[in-house]
């Protein structure tokens, strides 16, 4: 029963959402809208699960009890402490000062959270540079073709290209629109089919990983 009931719910939900897509009948629309509303409600509750799990793991890390060396919990403690302070501070600011334009909440968001996130995102530029230095080697003919295409695209995507020749930008768009797109479409078709069959396996109950790790 513990497995059969969730499987039955999964099958029924999947079948209903599949069938309603092809119907204009008001009943189909009503069922569809109802499921969308419940989807939102269930998701809202999962946010509580996340916050509770985060607080539990954070408090464990920063607790005064002797940490087991193998878990490395002690080294995480300062970061978890800061995270917990942030988790508590933002709702307090929102409740006390509101979230309107000019509120303390928005100030902290604009001047602390946004710059911190942008900083981590900016690491990507540095990592792209080091990965390019390491990865783009003309070891084989296909690698050389890839390398030359990369050079064309890198140059063609900046205004500097226009100072050399207009053809560089045209070559860039050609590479993006034809060979690159063809390869990407092929991979996307494969991924689309894989997604479809995985979803079908879940609906039909063949795939049960979400249930208790059963396959």
């Amino acid at each position: 029963m513990r497995v059969k009931i969730p499987l039955a719910i999964c099958f029924l939900s999947g079948a209903i959402m599949f069938i309603q897509y092809f119907s204009r009948h008001p009943l189909a629309k009503a069922v569809y809208n109802g499921i969308l509303d419940w989807w939102q409600i269930i998701f809202a509750f999962t946010l509580f699960v996340g916050v509770a799990a985060f607080i539990k793991s954070g408090l464990k890390s920063v607790s005064w009890s002797k940490a087991r060396p193998s878990t490395g919990r002690k080294t995480d403690a300062p970061y978890k402490a800061i995270s917990l302070v942030g988790l508590a501070l933002m709702p307090i600011l929102a409740l006390a000062g509101g979230t309107k334009f000019g509120s303390p909440f928005l100030w902290v968001f604009d001047n602390m959270q946004a710059p911190m996130q942008s900083t981590v995102f900016s690491l990507l530029a540095f990592f792209v540079a080091s990965a390019s230095f390491r990865g783009f080697r003309a070891r084989t003919i296909p690698a050389t073709i890839l390398l030359i295409s990369a050079l064309f695209v890198l140059l063609g995507r900046i205004p500097v290209a226009d100072y050399f020749t207009e053809s560089l930008a045209k070559a860039t768009f050609w590479i993006q629109d034809y060979p690159s797109m063809a390869a990407r479409r092929a991979i996307l078709i494969g991924i689309g089919l894989g997604s479809m069959t995985t979803a079908l396996r879940v609906i039909l109950g063949i795939e049960r990983t979400y249930l208790r790790g059963e396959r």
Partner: protein, 256 residues
């Protein structure tokens, strides 16, 4: 009021063909037909990766990426691989760390890993604290995983799931600590980053075939075969439409 929406007819036809192909594959395999999947290097390397971590006394890190939630087929596919990895890490008594951005994925992963430890015969080796939720924010999650990689220096890293911009940040950090990295995602952009930075990359539907490859479950293998048949049908359709459109550029029967 019409029950059926005629504008969805092409979608219905294609859906029914796809379901028919999947059912044909399932029935064929039940009647004794054998299907095999070619060797997938990334999946073959799982044993070596876990073994390496055990020898070096460092943990294995597995993360499903920030881009998806549990309803996404890519996340389900990564859970299948997690199940396999969890069994092996329990068998070798190697620590498995699983940070995630979604509380539902965390809950499912905890069950998957617990089940894996049970199947391996070592339920006591399950550590719930090592499977945890970090944050739903993309770069907060990326920064946290980077921090974990830098501090714990795992010998093996599995980056399997839906990734977005955080992919290269994690992969390069893993590369910097000298970890063996097995990656797979459904994003074509991030695949390119993984191919450069990781040792093994599961491309396209190799990630979805993992379930059948690792479990050798006949029902799942049959759906992988169904994917191949559908791909063949799509290729046939594209070729026919290509030839037809070349001969008659004004034709449009193949559009919808």
């Amino acid at each position: 009021m019409a029950i059926f929406d005629p504008t969805t007819l092409p979608t219905l036809v294609i859906s029914l063909i796809s379901i028919a192909v999947v059912l044909y594959a399932v029935i064929s395999i039940k009647r004794g037909k054998e299907f095999t999947i070619r060797e997938i290097p990334g999946l073959k390397a799982i044993d070596d990766a876990v073994g390496r971590a055990t020898e070096m006394g460092t943990p294995v890190l597995f993360t499903p990426g920030w881009g998806g939630d549990i309803q996404r087929p890519t996340t389900i596919a990564s859970m299948n691989i997690l199940s396999s990895v969890a069994e092996k890490t329990a068998e070798y008594d190697c620590r498995l760390i699983y940070p995630t951005h979604d509380p539902v994925i965390m809950a499912v992963a905890q069950e998957v890993v617990k089940e894996g430890c049970l199947k391996a015969g070592y339920p006591d080796r399950y550590r719930a604290d090592d499977i945890f939720y970090i944050t739903s924010s993309q770069f907060g999650y990326a920064a946290a995983v980077d921090g974990i990689i830098s501090r714990t220096k795992p010998a093996s890293i599995f980056l399997l799931g839906t990734f977005e911009a955080e992919s290269l940040i994690m992969a390069e950090t893993g590369n910097a600590v000298g970890a063996i990295q097995i990656a797979g995602t459904d994003s074509t952009i991030q695949l390119a980053f993984f191919i450069v930075a990781c040792d093994y990359t599961l491309i396209g539907e190799e990630l979805f075939a993992a379930s059948g490859y690792l479990s050798k479950n006949k029902s799942i293998l049959s759906s992988v075969k169904a994917q191949d048949i559908l791909k063949l049908l799509i290729a046939l359709f594209i070729t026919t439409a290509l030839i037809w459109a070349t001969i008659d550029p004004k034709s449009s029967w193949w559009k919808y």
